[in-house]
């Protein structure tokens, strides 16, 4: 039997740079209220959301990703040619094939980097980060670009008062590269497919075949409804707060970090009520900075953690070298939590 030479990677990995892109158009709650019977006060009290960004036709998933990635690459102090792999976490890229990651890798000027998309809902960034850490330490890429990007405005039913206000668009990206010290902790991740019905797309794409359209639901103007993301609010809230707090604690334990050691908490920006209840359930000390980017960004699914990370660093609320707990959770249901050093 021939001996196969093993690959050789870096001893550890770390996040070297982060970048974000928020679409130009800011949408206040007043615009949402044109189509649903609700109020600004109700939306704020149930979600914490005051404004969100919605992408224009030109602000495509690829275009937003390229903007965010350019900033992350510059912040990491590397060039696009050095990137060995591009991982894009998204649920709102509407060409089923090819993966949007290849277009992004090409337009950024990478040297034929490996490129693929990941579908893991609001945990997508954590899944991508985990893959990136593995690639860097295993040696299949020296630098990996991980992008979370969504155009959830395309998957929002503006006539559904439970979700019309919730979602936003944007892209966040990080560069993961080699390190002599561990700066990304063990990932605690998993799936609970028995709860798949609690967050899902209303109508699968293959029901839109010509000839079958007559069986699809109509909006108030009589047009066939486009698919949208729907969720069972109370079931998701309970799972997110109480089950995900356990996962967050497991990630802290796995990294050997106590709440007192923690500087920053960046949960998926699903709903400010979920964030507040998680903080309470986890008994995080006062000194821990908590990301509440959802107030002005909405829920951007896979993009929410890198966008929130970028904003905390840009505003000075968090600083390079801080120890942060990140946790993503959502449709699947899936989750991923880990402790990282901020770039």
């Amino acid at each position: 039997m021939s001996k196969i030479r093993p690959s050789k990677g870096a001893p550890y990995a770390r996040i070297l740079g982060v970048g974000g892109y928020r679409p130009t158009r800011v949408v206040p709650n007043e615009v949402i209220l044109e189509k649903i019977d609700s109020s600004d006060e109700w939306i704020r009290s149930r979600s914490g959301i005051e404004t969100r960004h919605w992408a224009s036709p030109e602000e495509t998933v690829a275009a937003m990703s390229i903007e965010a990635s350019g900033k992350a690459i510059a912040a990491a102090g590397i060039t696009a040619e050095q990137i060995g792999a591009v991982v894009v976490a998204t649920v709102s890229h509407f060409s089923q094939t090819p993966a949007v990651a290849t277009e992004i890798a090409d337009k950024l000027g990478t040297d034929r980097a490996a490129a693929f998309d990941v579908s893991a809902g609001c945990a997508g960034f954590g899944y991508g980060l985990t893959l990136a850490k593995g690639m860097v330490t295993e040696g299949s890429a020296e630098y990996v670009l991980v992008i979370g990007v969504e155009r959830l405005s395309d998957l929002t039913d503006l006539e559904d008062r439970a979700t019309a206000f919730l979602f936003g668009d944007g892209a966040g990206a990080v560069v993961v590269g080699p390190s002599d010290e561990p700066h990304i902790g063990p990932t605690v991740w998993g799936s609970e497919g028995d709860k798949a019905e609690t967050i899902k797309q209303t109508i699968p794409w293959n029901e839109y075949r010509i000839g079958d359209l007559g069986s699809l639901p109509l909006d108030s103007a009589g047009n066939v409804k486009f698919p949208a993301i729907t969720q069972e609010g109370q079931a998701v809230f309970r799972w997110a707060v109480f089950e995900m707090a356990k996962v967050a604690q497991q990630a802290l334990d796995a990294a050997g970090i106590t709440p007192d050691d923690l500087d920053v908490f960046i949960p998926h920006q699903a709903n400010v009520r979920i964030i507040d209840s998680m903080v309470k359930t986890l008994k995080l000390p006062e000194h821990v900075t908590v990301a509440r980017d959802i107030r002005t960004t909405g829920n951007t699914s896979a993009a929410s953690i890198p966008l929130a990370m970028e904003r905390l660093l840009a505003s000075g609320e968090a600083k390079s070298g801080d120890t942060a707990l990140v946790i993503g959770f959502g449709a699947g249901l899936v989750y991923a939590a880990t402790v990282v050093t901020l770039p």
Partner: protein, 82 residues
Amino acid sequence: MAATQEEIVAGLADIVNEIAGIPVEDVQLDKSFTDDLDVDSLSMVEVVVAAEERFDVKIPDDDVKNLKTVGDATEYILKHQA
């Protein structure tokens, strides 16, 4: 030992006070969580989880929507507590 109706109401009053800041004396059997006690659908989940721990009872998501009043919740806990 199973809790009595009085103990359950008193426990729910503590929980609602903690979560929604409502005075304990306002939490009465005939009070609606949503309409009278300012407990919205998300706070109701927190109330339910706290009640599950306190009274050693499981309250599945599908049953939560039927618990409109403090009396509904009290009756449910009385019937299902371990």
